[in-house]
Assembly symmetry: C2
Homo-oligomer: 462 residues x 2
Amino acid sequence: MAKDENFDEWYNEIVEKAGLCDKRYPIKGMNVWLPYGWKIMQNIDTIIRNEMEETGHQELYFPLLIPESFFKKEEEHIKGFSQEVFWVTHAGKNELEEKMLLRPTSETAMYPMFSLWIRSHADLPLKIFQIVNTFRYETKMTKAFIRVREIHFFEAHTAHESYEDAEAQVKEDIEIAKRFFKKLALPILFSRRPEWDKFAGAEYSIGIDVLMPSGRSLQVGSVHQYRQNFAKAFDIKYEGLDGKHHYCHQTTYGMSERVLGAVIGIHGDDRGIAIPSSIAPIKVVIVPIIFKGHEEEVMKECRDVEKELKSKEISSIVDDRDKTPGNKFYDWELKGVPIRIEIGPRDIQKGVVTIVARDGIKKEIDRNELDKIKEELEEFDERLYKKAEKFLKENIHRIKKMERKEGIVEIPWCGKEECGIKMEEELEMKSLGTPLEKEEINEKCPVCGEKAVTWLRLARSY
Amino acid sequence: MAKDENFDEWYNEIVEKAGLCDKRYPIKGMNVWLPYGWKIMQNIDTIIRNEMEETGHQELYFPLLIPESFFKKEEEHIKGFSQEVFWVTHAGKNELEEKMLLRPTSETAMYPMFSLWIRSHADLPLKIFQIVNTFRYETKMTKAFIRVREIHFFEAHTAHESYEDAEAQVKEDIEIAKRFFKKLALPILFSRRPEWDKFAGAEYSIGIDVLMPSGRSLQVGSVHQYRQNFAKAFDIKYEGLDGKHHYCHQTTYGMSERVLGAVIGIHGDDRGIAIPSSIAPIKVVIVPIIFKGHEEEVMKECRDVEKELKSKEISSIVDDRDKTPGNKFYDWELKGVPIRIEIGPRDIQKGVVTIVARDGIKKEIDRNELDKIKEELEEFDERLYKKAEKFLKENIHRIKKMERKEGIVEIPWCGKEECGIKMEEELEMKSLGTPLEKEEINEKCPVCGEKAVTWLRLARSY
């Protein structure tokens, strides 16, 4: 499987070969999560759950189904989603009085309840999240984890007294995202999406993108400032210290199983996937290197090491299958286990274990210093990150005229929609938006020739 | 709230007052899980996940939607469910070519894949489970956690070489259920459901029931032996050691959020719910008993105790709200926190903490022996169990003629369906089925007068 030659083909193959999902389920874009893939996803969920807890968000669960009348309350929102929702129209033999949709996202399920829950400023901020499955009727070509119709989804929703409080929440979300993606060894870009590509119903949207090895960008998360748009549609008001009633200001932060798609695509290689230790179901696999006459000795040492690692909360297994070491290496590299320990009679004699990280770095570690495996795992994650960061940096191109490049381009932009659209058309790319950091710019928009006010990022994207 | 006077009213009220769910969501039978309720449910899920892991089951996730053609493959199954499934018929503006249903249970989603996964005896046993939401269009009166239309659901599915292997799985499931419900302090009854009430598609079904304080039974789980019924419908075959192809034998084990309904109903009292410590989000609440001049001292001691408990992995919080101790007691009793610690100047002076379990048992514990809280929590759970077990035992009545009783009756039964149905009608009860344990019986069926072969259990049920 040559990742560099045909990334998309490699990707489509590796997700099944590594035991992450099975795409043979008889509905397009709805795959079966296999145990190994599901475990990785649950580990990813655990990281975001911890981040949410540490920032004062509470987890809850809203129903999947939304009555049509609620879905239709926010005009922009329905425009954005009405083409891609699944409708439940019947139950048993009966046609329903009001049809219901499967949540494509949960604003219209949650906000009628927010309007019941929020009474006074003392109820604010309200910060909640849920991890659920959402549904979108994708008409484009589907792709495991990246473009599916049933989506494993994370969504945080907040309500605040003022626009400033909501802005502070957006900033907190950005910090959460930085920490979260760093743990997954994924370098990311934040871009303020252009007006014509913001979330349906938002005042503005910040996209979180990674660059895949194919040179195409992938949105892996987004943060939205809703201002009072939904609060007005759903009548979410609080009584302020001034005794008057005000509409709340709201934000959301969303991510999905695409995060796993990014991990697979960015860290993998021709031999398989590579899982950062932070989310690896098995951090260490121990492979006995058996020589005649040493079977028992080697197996005992393997079990001892496994036991010791487990006592240090490093998930590990001994591969005692009846296969050659070479075949075992192959299997575990395919599955992306961060570190392999090889133990043979020579290692036992020397009082060491040989460790080989998934990226090929080989070392001997003193048998009495197994604790060092923790550092080795961290260093492995760090190397994954550095490598991905280098790739990202090398593939962001600041250009001053319209020219096609692989990866992401940043072009001076006057800020007018028509010029942005022109750039998209001419380069056959999509706007990711503008960088969040303010920056002096002394360039001209290559479309209209007027003074540029910012850079516009564009890329071919998934 | 008087639980004894009107259990159902008490129940309906307590689920909201304790912060478990909000029933104001605008679809009947679909409630919002509030953070406290959701956390308890997640803790319940963790117990079953651990049980599954220890018995070699792997977790995965199947799509929610099932194509109509797959749903229709097993004849009995569709008869059982067709009246209560939700149908997705449209997506965006289009009518779907094939309509799809929301899983009411996942046999018909999983088994087409089983037939791809299972090739040889080496692939068996296959033991998997998932924790998902399922959907049933209930037409009866809905009740939080007990009769809802979106159901938080656990389902384990297994495939085996032989009927004996499948029987052994049924036995393993029974042992898992015993351990699981014991942890929740819930005494249960296993009954082999009568033929006319077995699961649609099963050879036989074992129901797991609890007795609610209203005197009505509640099914909280079930284990099904499918023999080869589904394997034949879905063509699930393996190549045996004999080189021939055989149909697999299958079983399932299912439970749902009803388990939480049972915890609420059985352990609660007029003051609120009572959560066994095994699943309590907060095991210990620390309430400062402040006297003038001792504020700092008491608060410091509370924080110290909290810190120490947390270091022992006993989840705890200090209630430092500006309320009277009495009001705080009220709030935490409502929410069912297993143990309250009261700390005042007198306790500090004596070098003790005062603990009050949710069931009223009060003790002083030496300040240097906070470890004892663990035992106290276990003893609390044990007391909940004993109390519930006593109630159950007192409300199972062996009777020899047809007479109405509160709770569960066991009547000598000849084994004929017509006699069983007659008993149901006359007593206005439902058959739970027959005990699993074989037992000598020298009685006559009160309907036909023939020799009884077993006892038939009946109850009014939810």
